[in-house]
Amino acid sequence: MALREALFIYGTATNTGKDFFTHQNRQDFFLQGHPADVWVIGYNEKGARWLAEKNGVEKTKTEAQALVDTEVTASQDAWDLLSDEEKTVLSRPTQVTLP
């Protein structure tokens, strides 16, 4: 409980593809994916169970935000090294504030 914020559970889990989250999961709880395999999950029993079943690692909001920030910063650094031509087809990654 100490790790959880009021509305959401924060955690990391690798998106393994098909059925990583199901139609039923999406009806059972809020779910939002972010960089660095960070997931913001609705704070209820089914959401918590989903993270555990996906071998996820629960994080505090601060920890999750730090992971996202690090990933986005690395992506920004990589974008800055692209050629001018390549920059015309990719947007510079932008920082995200987790809900």
């Binding site: 998106n15 593809g17 989250f21 139609h23 999406r26 990933e71 990719l90």
Partner: protein, 337 residues
């Protein structure tokens, strides 16, 4: 309900359990549960994860259905380029490369758009980052074959409809910066092109009817003019008409469906966004959000009740994840009160 046989002209079957393979609209009495039952009722639509695309990409051409889909071309050139991957509703399998005749350059497949089915698909336009082209290719489920070029070079426009009666509209032409957005419509018969009516609002990166659209019933909503627009127009085979705008001014929308049953989703700005809307030919209604925000570059397919989107550009760059939208068909209890 005692009048049902008189109204329907049929007696209700008295069954101990729900029958397998019930038809839409079939009614029966389940003596096990004591409920009057009906099959074929639409459930609540939601997004679920699909099989991850083999590599992160954007600006490929998506078409086909949720269980027989295709994404071809796109960028980056090294991992997307001319490559084709087919989707069976669970995983992606490599197909044969696009030809992009005459040069075969992988840079010619970025920002192309496609439509049709797995075994009768087509893709047109594109070009990365300059060199916008008019190349058109047909896909037969195995190979890509060069077809007649579009009347003009375009990229980031919309392809809709089947291979033998398709539309390509909007997009940008060579020039700029900024690249000049286009209002033109080209009609495709699988072998050649003719000019159609112009959109009232020139744009690129728009949402539209997808593979299930037709040459006489197209839709084009949102996009860049170059700023984001919510404008929505319908095509009747001759002219575009202004209809109910998309609820937000967004570009890089995902889309699927027909002129009277269409969905739009994702988009920029706003994240990239995760919202989704459904259109019935008159009004837009909010439907379930996606889990992953992405800028969509036409790497989508399916129908308004069974759609897919793969890859795209998320907050930290290109992604490979796939999401599927499904409205399940369910069996429900009928109330007799």
């Amino acid at each position: 309900m005692t009048t049902y046989p008189q109204i329907k002209g049929l007696r209700i079957k008295y069954l101990s359990a729900d029958p397998s393979g019930a038809e839409d609209g079939q009614v029966w009495y389940n003596s096990g549960s004591g409920n009057l039952r009906v099959s074929g009722i639409q459930g609540t639509g939601a997004w679920s994860s699909g099989g991850n695309y083999p590599a992160p990409l954007q600006s490929g051409a998506g078409f086909g259905t949720q269980t027989a889909g295709v994404v071809a071309g796109g960028t980056p050139p090294s991992t997307a380029g001319l490559k084709t991957f087919e989707y069976d509703g669970s995983s992606w399998t490599a197909g044969n490369d696009m030809s992009r005749t005459p040069t075969g350059s992988p840079y010619l497949s970025a920002y192309n758009s496609g439509s049709g089915t797995l075994t009768a698909g087509w893709a047109a336009g594109g070009g990365h980052p300059g060199g916008i082209n008019a190349l058109t290719e047909n896909y037969n489920g195995t190979n890509w074959t060069a077809s007649a070029s579009m009347p003009a070079s375009r990229k980031a426009g919309n392809a809709s409809g089947p291979q033998t009666a398709g539309l390509y509209f909007a997009g940008v032409a060579p020039g700029g910066p900024p690249a000049p957005t286009q209002a033109s419509t080209f009609e495709y018969d699988g072998e050649g092109w003719t000019a159609g009516g112009n959109l009232n609002t020139a744009r690129t990166n728009a949402g539209s009817t997808g593979p299930t659209g037709s040459q006489t019933a197209g839709l084009c909503f949102g996009g860049n003019t170059p700023g984001q627009t919510s404008n929505n127009e319908e095509y009747n085979g001759t002219a575009w008409t202004e209809v109910t705008n998309y609820p937000s001014a967004l570009s890089y929308l995902g889309y699927a469906g027909t002129q009277t049953a269409c969905i739009g989703y994702n988009g920029y700005p706003g994240g990239p966004g995760v919202t989704a809307k459904s259109y019935d030919g008159t009004n837009w209604t909010s439907i379930a959000n996606l889990s992953i925000g992405r800028l969509n570059y036409h790497q989508n397919g399916g129908t308004a009740d069974a759609a897919f989107v793969a890859g795209g550009e998320a907050t930290s760059g290109l992604i490979a994840s796939t999401e599927e939208f499904t409205i399940p068909v369910e069996t429900k209890n009928l109330s007799t009160s």
